[in-house]
Each structure stands twice: as C-alpha cells, then as structure tokens.
Symmetry: C2
Subunit: 221 residues, 2 copies
C-alpha cells in the first residue's frame, strides 16, 4: 500500500485526537524557540510534550514531509503549519460571561494571551462589578450581551456562570452571532447545530484520574 | 465473528475515549434521577449528554447487557456500574495547591462535591491566606505540603499555581505520596512513571474550537 502524504493546505482528514494534541506541541515549540532550538527530533518533541515518540511521529506525518532523516523537524515550519490548521494565524474576538472567581481567573490567565487570544468584553450580573476594567477588559451588565457581542463582532464566548444561568446566557450569545462556546458551567447546553460547544467539566478531570488509580489498584491485587 | 460481550467486573479493555465520556453520562443520570426517570432509552441519554445515539449504544455495550429491547436501560444500574469503573464508589482524598483566583474557584466549585470529591487541604504561598478556612477547607503554607499530604494520606492533588512554581510543587507532592495530579499550570510536568498527570490547558480548549471554526470557514468559501 502506498504511504499517504498530506501536503494540501486543507488537511481535512486529520483525526480529532491528533487535533487535540496540537496545542501541546505548540506549547513545546514555544519552549524550544525560547531556548534557540530551531531543529528538533521527534524524540525531543515527545519528551517536551509528554506524548510518546511513536504517536508524535504519526501526528507529524499529517503535516507533510517536514522531517529530514537524521536532521529532524524545523520548529518554525511545523509551528506555523499547526497554527494555520488550528486557525491561530488570525485574531479571534472572545467574550467572557461570568466574573466570579473562575471568570476572574480566566481574565488573568496568562495562557490565553500567550496563545494569541484576546478577551474583548466581559459580563457579570453583579452591579458592583459592572463598569470595572480588569486587565484592560471592561465588565458589562449581563443584559447587554446581545448588543455588545453584536457591536464587537464577537465569534467565541466563554461561559463561567452558575449552571442555572448558563442556558439563558448561551441563548443570548447565539442570538447575537456567537459561533463557538467554551462552557465551564457543569451542565449540557442546547444550541443550534451550527454552533460549536466545548464543555469543560472540571470534576471529570478528576474522574478520569480515579479510573486509572482504581485500575492500578485492581492490578496490584 | 462472535460478538464480544463484557460482563466481567474488571472491564480492562474499555477504550480511553469511552472512559472520557463516562462523566458526561453520570451528569445525565443525575438529571434523570432528579426527574424520577428510572429507565431511559439510548436516544434519551444521547439527547441529555450531547453524544450521538450510535456512540452511546457502543459505549453502553461495554457495560454488559443492561439494555432491554423496547424497554431501555436502568439508570441506577448503569450509574453504579460506571461509578465502580471510574473508582467513584469510594472517597478520594484531594489537595489543592494554589489559592489564587483559579484555586478559589476550584474550592468553591459545586461540581466537585456533586461528583463526590472532597478537598481535604489547600496550600498557598501568601502568608495572609495561610490559616484561613474556606468552604471548610484549611489553607496551609506551601512548604507544609510534604507533612500535611503525608499526614492526611492524600492521593490526588490539583495544581493551580503559576507555571514557574508548578514543577517544584509537583516534586513535593510526589515525594509525599501523591499518585495523581490535575495540572492547571500551563506547563508540562516531569514526574515518575507511576504518577498520573492530567494537564488542563484552558487555552487549548479555545484552540480546539478555532480549528473547527476555521475549517467551516474554509468549507463555506
């Protein structure tokens, strides 16, 4: 069977688990670049990203023939290819709804700016917070979502409100033209098919770990 | 080829993507139970969990023959089977390191308690926070990690400190006997092979979405 190589800029057939690993490679590229490493081996990338070498080689194969036998992969080329695939070569306009502890943590989270994301507007129901500016981002009253999101042409929203308020907030965001939502509220949102939702369930991260702990307990017995 | 059915309580061969979906099913079971639904169809479960019906049926098949044709699945049985697989039939002792905005959000996050997790101790470097009690959890000084984690026999830790401090914190936790870490710091941790780490990169949630937005933009052109 002939080995399939992908060199088209469309890359339509990259499997989702590979896509999900790209952000981890990007973090590692940033570290390599910071340390003036311009060419790296798949083994080095595996070590830095915490992904096994065979998987790294398989993933990189989707990005065409960048690796040179005995020399390695060019960090800058791989970085810009992966950014293009992830849609990170352009700026995305983001809104944050909910400025409690979690929302505040997200506003101040260094990782967003580092990845090239910019929160353009924040919203909260608490009148004492409305009008504040934090990290250069103004906090608006929640009922202003439709107007502000439309005016600022925001495409992505982060929901960090209690579960009881999340659906109403999502409805307003979708009405105003938001096309993708990261949902931190512990509930499932109902949205039109054209809108993407990524639910971040903080408890499920723990549940995933307890599965492996429990499994290793069983094996030890 | 004979169809393989799993009825052993060990369930060693459940694929990881299925395991990763179990928490979402558990959330839905809680809603069904709350609404006095004792028997559900795979279609109902699909609707509530946001997972497609074919995938739901495939996932449930790993849990043996609980579904009855034309009747459906017994919520309580499925719930307790999945909890057992995830190791949630017992209590896990958790420590939280870092009580900034994110740490505070995690301490107050309703989803943990709902899922049966209990944070036993919190740690922070800020002397003005040490000694506080929040949501019934005492905040200790970070240098006390080794002692407190050992004394309280903590098995799982959540790291919510800046990236620059994360590795040192992880070393202390592992030394004190922690076997699994959820890492919110935007960096890769180096730990012994026997320790599980799950990195939660909040920016990568956004990057996953921009991939799909960019892809649909390309398709529309």
């Amino acid at each position: 069977m002939a080995k399939k190589t992908t060199s088209s800029p469309k890359h339509r057939n990259i499997p989702e688990p590979t896509i999900a690993r790209l952000p981890r490679y990007l973090r590692s590229f940033a570290e390599f670049a910071h340390n003036q490493h311009t060419v790296i081996s798949s083994k080095e990338l595996a070590g830095a990203s915490g992904i096994n070498p065979a998987q790294v080689r398989k993933d990189l194969a989707y990005f065409g023939q960048f690796g040179q036998r005995g020399i390695g992969y060019d960090v800058k080329t791989l970085d810009s290819k992966m950014r293009e695939i992830l849609g990170l070569h352009k700026a995305w306009r983001i809104a944050l709804v909910g400025c409690g502890n979690l929302g505040m943590a997200l506003l101040q989270y260094g990782g967003f700016a580092k990845a090239g994301f910019r929160i353009e507007a924040a919203f909260d129901v608490d009148p004492s917070k409305v009008g504040w500016e934090l990290e250069g981002v103004r906090i608006w009253a929640t009922p202003a979502i439709r107007q502000v999101v439309r005016e600022k042409k925001i495409e992505i929203a982060i929901i960090a409100v209690p579960a009881s308020q999340a659906q109403r907030v999502a409805d307003d965001l979708v009405d105003a033209g938001v096309r993708a939502i990261v949902n931190f509220a512990p509930c499932v949102l109902t949205v039109p098919k054209s809108v993407l939702v990524r639910g971040v369930d903080l408890a499920s991260e723990l549940e995933h770990l307890t599965y492996f702990l429990e499994k290793s307990n069983r094996t030890e017995k």
